[in-house]
């Protein structure tokens, strides 16, 4: 595979398609949840598609990711088929975690997805450890962690990044800074406004990008991955992101100015942005939309037609 540092023009259409697929997928998830079809706690990343797609596109085969409670986008971007993801949300055996995980525990080990994590910060030491394994075995692989601004306050974050830098393991820590931790705005959860400072406390290389611009994300991720892969140590990749929706599906967002989300959706939608850049006409976009919407619809069909686990299956997979 040719080593690129920026997204090729020829890829951009594909990238748009992927982001739109994630968007429509999550909108469908919202709809199905509201219809009472989906159990569990669900968090959509609507508005944050550029981060998932930009970073995952930049990965090489063999690289791995770990995600958070807001994991649908990462999971799709890392290559899990929408059918398998939707089936998981429906709790089916055909799901990517075979019905054991759910929205906050999406795994696809074969495709390098080490798993979503419902404990904020919980996946970060795992990424340090995976990167350590790559380093010890001399494999040119990188382990990538996604996490939010809220996660930068938890001890796990500090310990994991500190260790990664101390051992110069090939890891990239991707901060999706959407300025909210549930209902808590950044000003109420962090004493500093520039979260990049967090990485300086460990002497870690930091990079910054507009998380709503998929090209910028890709470019920065590529740089970060190259740095990590070349043995120079981990990188802290700070993405400036926007959460268009509530924290969880159904969140009435009493704590948030109603206009804020609308304004942000109008001005900082990564899909709109790329669409404008590609000068995609309405028809073309509609075609694309139809195409991905069909995939999403099919995934719901697939999921609904899936197999419920037997109750006793709950006693499997506890031990190897």
């Amino acid at each position: 595979m040719e080593h690129r540092t920026t997204l090729a023009k020829s890829d951009l259409h594909d990238v748009l398609r992927e982001m739109l697929l994630i968007r429509r997928f999550e909108e469908k998830v919202e709809e199905r949840f509201r219809a009472g079809e989906l159990p569990g706690f669900l968090h959509v990343a609507i508005g944050q598609e550029a981060s998932a797609v930009g970073v995952c596109r930049a990965l090489e085969d063999g690289d791995v990711i770990a995600s958070t409670h807001r994991a649908h986008g990462h999971t799709l971007a890392k290559g899990t088929h929408p059918n398998e993801l939707m089936a998981e949300l429906y709790g089916k055996q055909e799901g990517c975690s075979h019905g054991y995980g759910g929205s906050m525990h999406l795994f696809d080990v074969e495709r390098g997805n080490m798993g979503a994590n419902a404990v904020v910060g919980g996946g970060l030491p795992l990424v340090t450890g995976a990167a350590l394994a790559f380093q010890m075995r001399g494999e040119p692989r990188v382990a990538v962690a996604f996490f939010g601004d809220g996660a930068t306050n938890i001890g796990t974050f500090h310990e994991a990044l500190n260790l990664a830098q101390l051992w110069t393991v090939p890891a990239v820590f991707v901060l999706e800074d959407n300025k909210w931790a549930e209902s808590t705005p950044e000003s109420q959860h962090s004493p500093i406004r520039d979260l990049s400072l967090r990485a300086k406390a460990f002497g870690m290389k930091g990079l910054k990008a507009d998380g709503q611009d998929v090209e910028a994300v890709y470019k920065a991720a590529r740089q970060a991955l190259d740095h990590a892969r070349s043995g120079k140590g981990p990188v802290f990749l700070h993405l400036d992101c926007v959460r268009f929706r509530g924290h969880y599906i159904g969140d009435p967002q009493v704590y948030r100015d109603k206009d804020e989300a609308r304004r942000l959706a109008e001005t900082r939608d990564p899909i709109t942005r790329l669409r404008e850049k590609l000068q995609l006409g309405d028809d073309e976009f509609a075609d694309l939309d139809t195409e991905v919407t069909e995939i999403v619809e099919a995934s719901v069909e697939f999921a609904k037609a899936g197999t419920d686990p037997a109750p006793e299956d709950a006693l499997k997979n506890i031990y190897a």
């Binding site: 159990p39 906050m104 306050n153 001890g155 704590y255 006693l315």
Partner: protein
Amino acid sequence: MPELTYREAVRDALSTAMRQDEDVFIMGEDIAEMGGSMGVTAGMLDEFGKERVRNTPISEMALAGAAIGAAMQGMRPVAEIMYEDFLTLAAEQVVNQAAKLRYMSGGQLTVPVTFRTQGGAGWSPGAQHAQQLEAWFVHIPGLKVVFASTPEDVRGLLWSAIYDDNPVVFFEHRTLYPIKGDVPQEIEPIPIGRARVHREGEDVTVIATGRLLHESLKAAEQAEGDGISVEVVDPRTLQPLDEETLVSSVKKTNRAVVAHEAVTRMGFGAEVAAVLQYQAFDWLDAPIERVGAKFAPLPFAPVMEQFVVPHAEEVLAAIKRTVGKA
């Protein structure tokens, strides 16, 4: 007698204490504008302001520890750990600090802190959002452990926990928040360390906590239809444990079932069974039955989740086994 939901009852205890006492305040993640992930503290920010209804960053260790430190200086903080699963993050502070500070100081310190937390299966939140870990804290000298099951109990016990001069780990069960019940007009403190007999019976004693109290009451009703008279007791406080009430009930019925939602193995029921077999050995006509979650992390798919945690059905089956009518 007014009727309150379990959720309102928690809020009432917190608010009333905060109204009468400047030293009481609450802290936790998203408890302010959002009113907590379960809506328990909704509206309290407006009444008490952000100093006393204190949103914290996602920092379970420090928020627990800061509550302890404030308690060491005479405040009575109530710190919320959003889900029990995250008690694993605060464990060092709760177990090595709060529980032991008084002792290690030779009695110089008091640590009047309360840790509220909740969890429970029922909504498929998955393996990291629904554990029941009360047994861990029962193992730690220096802590008191409460698990309340009704609106009346949760209000009266939370009140006692706030005013107890010791660290209290206070468990609530997620599925109980909407249940309603009568409560006294004025808050009546319920002493920590006293069990509650919810229903008297002759043939078997069911000792149950949290959601399983309600399942056990259902099971008792059903058993009655089969001619089995069931006594149902809620220990309410797991530490200190009202052994006397439990033992005397079992000495009367000669049979016991212990029921909780937590994993059976090494769950609280193990301690109760160990106590009962010891103190009521000569009275027992059947082995003590334990009803709890099967030995698995909580799975996501609802059919599996429901299979793992116990319901009235399993309690009833255990009741029948003890009376030999299985």
